[in-house]
């Protein structure tokens, strides 16, 4: 172990160089460690956000695949969707379709001022209204009664908006007579619940072209009683939402759904609705990508500087190698001595760096996140819906721009040093140092001692 003692002598005698190498390693390891820690912290925060929001996969009509010539949107059997709902990844699910419903008697549409004509209004037949996105997000609120659920799937129940209920003097438990899209089939319905949609009366529902106050929800059985949604012998719908236990299971669910439903999914899309997660994690992703970029830039630049430093040091020690070889020292011991010297410095630097990198990262990362989160929140707060009667597309607004409620951007990260991260950075640092040592050392040691000792003489 003579070379270990020599390494110690060398490090101590060349204190200036040792300190320079230590400082270089310290800066690199702190910066790289900071990048790794920020990424780990944002990753954990994203996972937590995803878990808190849950994951949703929506089945909808493939409008792009539909083409201009199609007369009717495709529909899918509820039996098939029930089978998809029993896949292990699914926690809850619902499905729905739209059709025209006409309230009989003196029923009036909100804002029309006259009895409901043959145009009727939009009825949405739904398996479980409580699982519709607007109710889940808290945008719509059930004021009285109960939701339409699987329990009353076969009953003739409806859910009406509070302004419609007020206009027509309806209360929970009241009976109304409704005619279906064929304008002939009529059935009696019970008002199961009254809900509130905060959208103004004159702001048209983009999906149905009606005032939101006139939208009603109907049970599947009720819609079937009106002759709608039961083509080809079974109940059929056009949209569904599957709520999954784990956001990470989206792909597994989609694969399972495609396998189970096969060609029945033709004409439909299965899309993950991760808008809330994206809204919450946007600032995190921003600082994560900044940290990753900085980490790589500093890592690569630092590695180059370090490699040059070590390379220079090795070349300056040619004569020392020659002397030791002339004494019959083994080449592997010379390389090991050099490697040991750099490894000791690297380990010390990484050790010291890991002591204060977490605090530094917490402080810097939090400051970055505060700025990003404030910008994201400002964007959400300043969002204005399109003018009544407009889709907003002409103003450059996309439906996707609308912020999701109850999904504030995450503005807090917690940096926790993970031994695995520290070990990874340490391993990479040491590997880098050893490579930077071994390559020039091996090149020098290819020479015989006479050549080394007489070169430049």
């Amino acid at each position: 172990m003579n070379f270990v003692k020599r390494a110690g002598f060398s490090l101590w005698a060349r204190r200036g160089r040792t300190l320079t190498t230590f400082a270089t390693f310290l800066v690199i390891s702190v910066m790289v460690l900071a990048g790794v820690l920020v990424n780990a912290a944002t990753g954990r925060a994203e996972q937590a956000a995803t878990r808190s929001v849950g994951a949703e996969v929506n089945l909808g009509v493939d409008l792009e695949g539909l083409g201009g010539g199609a007369l009717q949107a495709p529909r899918i059997a509820t039996d098939t969707l029930d089978r998809l709902g029993r896949l292990p990844q699914v926690q809850k699910y619902t499905y729905w379709m739209y059709d025209r419903v006409i309230f009989r008697g003196d029923s009036r549409l909100v804002g029309a001022g006259a009895p409901m004509g043959p145009g009727g209004t939009a009825g949405i037949s739904v398996l479980d209204s409580s699982l519709l996105a607007d109710f889940r997000s808290g945008s719509f609120k059930l004021l009285s009664g109960h939701h339409l659920t699987t329990a009353d799937k076969k009953a003739n129940n409806i859910l009406v908006e509070e302004r419609f209920a007020r206009e027509n003097g309806l209360r929970v438990g009241d009976e109304v007579e409704v005619t279906g899209n064929d304008e002939q089939t009529t059935a009696d319905f019970t008002v199961a619940g009254i809900y509130r949609d905060p959208a103004p009366t004159d702001e048209l529902d983009r999906d149905h072209g009606i005032s939101p106050a006139n939208r009603v929800y109907v049970t599947l059985g009720g819609m079937a009683a009106l002759g709608s949604g039961s083509e080809r012998g079974g109940t059929q719908v056009s949209e569904a939402a599957f709520l999954l236990d784990d956001a990470g299971a989206q792909d597994a669910f989609k694969d399972g759904a495609r396998r189970l439903a096969g060609s029945q999914l033709d004409g439909f899309t299965l899309d993950a609705n991760d808008k809330a997660v994206r809204q919450m994690t946007g600032p995190l992703q921003s600082i994560s990508s900044t940290a990753t970029l900085a980490m790589w830039l500093i890592g690569v630049a630092g590695a180059v500087v370090l490699a040059l430093l070590v390379n220079l040091a090795v070349k300056q020690r040619r004569r020392e190698y020659g002397v030791l070889l002339s004494l019959g020292e083994k080449k592997w011991k010379l390389i090991t001595q050099q490697a040991l010297e750099i490894a000791v410095v690297a380990a010390l630097a990484i050790g010291v760096g890991s002591l204060f990198a977490p605090n530094l990262t917490q402080s810097a990362g939090q400051r970055l996140l505060d700025r990003e989160a404030a910008t994201a929140q400002e964007k959400i707060d300043s969002w204005e819906p399109p003018a009544p009667g407009s889709t907003g597309l002409d103003q450059g607004l996309s439906p996707d721009d609308q912020p999701v409620d109850n999904a504030d951007p995450i503005d807090r990260i917690t940096v926790e040093p993970d031994p695995a991260d520290l070990a990874a950075v340490g391993g990479i640092g040491l590997g880098m140092a050893l490579l930077a040592t071994a390559v020039p050392a091996a090149a020098v040691l290819r020479l015989n001692p006479r050549t080394i000792l007489t070169k430049g003489k």
Binding site: N2, F9, G328, E329, N448, P449
Partner: protein
């Protein structure tokens, strides 16, 4: 009186150069430095090698000490080709060299240079340990304890030369090579070194080979070899 430097190997034969030639290949031309040298160095003998600058003295020393391999011919130690023994092993166990440029480990003290060499060559620690032996050798060569524990870069050229000699002596080898070992020393110290070499040859049966320009040093050796135009000849001392 001179004779062609060829000797039959006898019972005291230690190192034999047989048909040794060495060529340096430059970018434009090849320079033959040593031409077909045949010579056998004996145990317990103090040799000096004389010759003008550029005659190949240092090259001869490099080949004989195992720092380099000859372009042609063989160098054998105790009847075994150095290529077979391994140059590194030969240098480690059997030969030591005192360089003209000292070639000390500059990040160590004089004492550490000597003990490090002892550790590398695996010299059995003498009574009192390596440190004591190293201090004794350095003291014998005129370096006191304070100088011995000083970084070698803080020593004068002559002191560094003595550290280099102490390092070689400490390795307790069969054959000791030295390239101009007294060039940087005052007369008294130089004589002390020569006495040490002679003593090594006499009492420890070591073969000592010194490359020098000094005729005075040569007169004190057992055998004087002259290298001229790549040829080695022996001058028999009267």
């Amino acid at each position: 009186m001179t004779t062609t430097a060829t000797q039959a190997s006898g019972p005291a034969a230690l190192l034999r150069l047989a048909g040794v030639s060495h060529v340096y290949a430059g970018q434009r031309r090849r320079t033959t430095v040593l031409k077909d040298i045949n010579y056998t160095f004996q145990r317990g003998t103090f040799y000096t090698v004389l010759g003008p600058s550029g005659s190949g003295k240092t090259t001869l020393l490099s080949l004989a000490s195992g720092l380099d391999a000859p372009t042609r011919g063989t160098v054998s130690f105790n009847g075994r080709n150095l290529a077979e023994i391994g140059l590194g092993r030969y240098r480690n166990r059997h030969a030591a060299t005192v360089f003209q440029q000292y070639n000390l480990l500059t990040y160590m003290t004089a004492l550490q240079n000597v003990t490090t060499a002892m550790e590398i060559t695996g010299v059995k620690p003498p009574q009192g340990g390596r440190r004591a032996r190293a201090l004794e050798l350095l003291a014998h060569l005129g370096l006191d304890r304070a100088e011995a524990t000083r970084n070698v870069q803080q020593l004068s050229g002559g002191q560094q030369q003595r550290v280099a000699i102490a390092r070689a002596l400490a390795c307790d080898v069969d054959i000791l090579f030295a390239d101009e070992p007294t060039g940087n020393l005052d007369e008294d110290t130089a004589q002390g070194i020569v006495d040490t070499f002679r003593d090594l040859a006499r009492t420890r049966n070591t073969c000592v080979v010194v490359v020098t320009h000094s005729q005075q040093l040569a007169t004190q050796s057992d055998r004087v070899l002259t290298l001229r135009k790549g040829k080695l000849t022996e001058q028999l001392n009267a």
